[in-house]
Amino acid sequence: MTDSQLIQEIKQGDTELYSELMRRYQRKILAFVYHMLKSSHMELMAEDLCSETFYKAFRSLHSFREVDASFSTWLYTIARNTVLSELRKHRSGTLPLEESGVVPVAPMEVAPEQAILRSERVHMVREAINNLPEKQRSALILREYDQLDYQEIADILGQSVSSVKSLLFRARGSVKIQLEPYFYEPVFEDLRGMKNR
């Protein structure tokens, strides 16, 4: 059954099918929400905001028109708005910017020193992405981790395709400039050695 068939059935009263529709996009939305929240050290809220996204989507499912956007693009838009409003809420309140959160878990088979290097590297990249303005960050996450095309990203961000290109171009440039100093450090040299093996 295609997405639009499922949506049609759900609109006609077969609510239980929404569970199936969610299953198709859960991983993607969860990953997107996680990356967006992680930059503000709020990733522990990822599951809640993912639920919130799907709940909101169900509530306004009757207003969803396939001609305007695909269901997945529409979902990403809701997810992004949900995350942004949550971030705004916390920015105005008192947000403990503690590092605690979830410590990146390295796969079991990786040796400890490699795990340390890996987590170091993850930390660097995370910081570089954190420092991007929100639109650049969203565009980069949607492009690099969700592999969406320009048009989809443009729909989600409410921008033109050419501004999405320029957002991505600026985001990549800025990430590279931020990571550059690390390229000459021992950590990076070790990583390079690891990678070439």
Binding site: K11, Q12, G13, D14, T15, E16, Y18, S19, M22, R23, Q26, R27, L30, A31, Y34, H35, K38, A46, E47, C50, S51, F54, Y55, F58, V102, P104, V105, R118, R121, V122, M124, V125, R126, I129, L140, R143, E144, Y145, Y150, L168, F169, R172, G173, V175, K176, L179, E180, F183, F188, R192, K195
Partner: protein
């Protein structure tokens, strides 16, 4: 390719497919120019590094999220619980019957159409004599030339009063069955739509 061009391309090639000409030209330049090669390597490294985050998502219980959302929906919209079970039970049976009905009428339509095409053609009315307003010339010595056929055939002009439209049809004619089956299909479709709307 000049170094300036290469520098410019480095900023933009990342979304291009591997076999894109610009990308290939850049790689060709990088292989011959050591200063661009260093810069290009940094770009590649930074791109690769961005991807380390791709798999940094802790395992979360997607099914749990799914159940939470469904529970919340049923809690906030209690009438949907009943509607869901009803729509599942009722619609399957009704739809099956309506589909059968449409199929039956369709078959009737096809049969009557075939019958109509094969035998139902009635003789076409003989076209009436064209009215030209010219009276055939009489021949003087034959008295019987002007006969009754020579009276004017005046076409009926629109007098403002429209004759009632009368369809000459009886159940023995294929047209009757064709129209009946079309009506049947129309009715079934209308009912199906109505059923869908009611369940909302």
């Amino acid at each position: 390719m000049t170094c300036d061009e290469a520098q410019e391309l480095m900023e933009t090639v990342w979304d291009l497919p591997d076999n894109d000409l610009r990308r290939q030209r850049l790689i060709a330049h990088v292989q011959t120019c050591s200063s661009c090669a260093a810069e290009y390597e940094m770009w590649v490294e930074s791109q690769n590094m961005v991807h380390v985050l791709e798999h940094e998502i802790p395992d979360m219980d997607a099914e749990q999220i799914n159940r939470n959302v469904m529970d919340r929906i049923y809690r906030d919209f209690p009438w949907l619980v009943e509607e869901t079970s009803k729509s599942r039970a009722v619609s399957r049976v009704f739809r099956k019957r309506l589909t059968l009905m449409i199929a039956g009428f369709l078959a009737l339509f096809v049969c009557s159409f075939v019958y109509f095409a094969a035998t139902g053609n009635q003789p076409k009315p003989v076209p009436e004599a064209v009215t030209t307003g010219i009276i055939p010339t009489g021949v003087a010595d034959t008295a019987q030339t002007l006969n009754t056929k020579d009276d004017y055939n005046i076409p009926k002009t629109n007098s403002g009063i429209i004759d009632p439209f009368v369809v000459d049809m009886s159940p023995t004619q294929p047209e009757y069955w064709m129209i009946l089956s079309l009506l049947g299909i129309g009715f079934a479709m209308f009912f199906l739509k109505k059923l869908n709307r009611v369940r909302r």
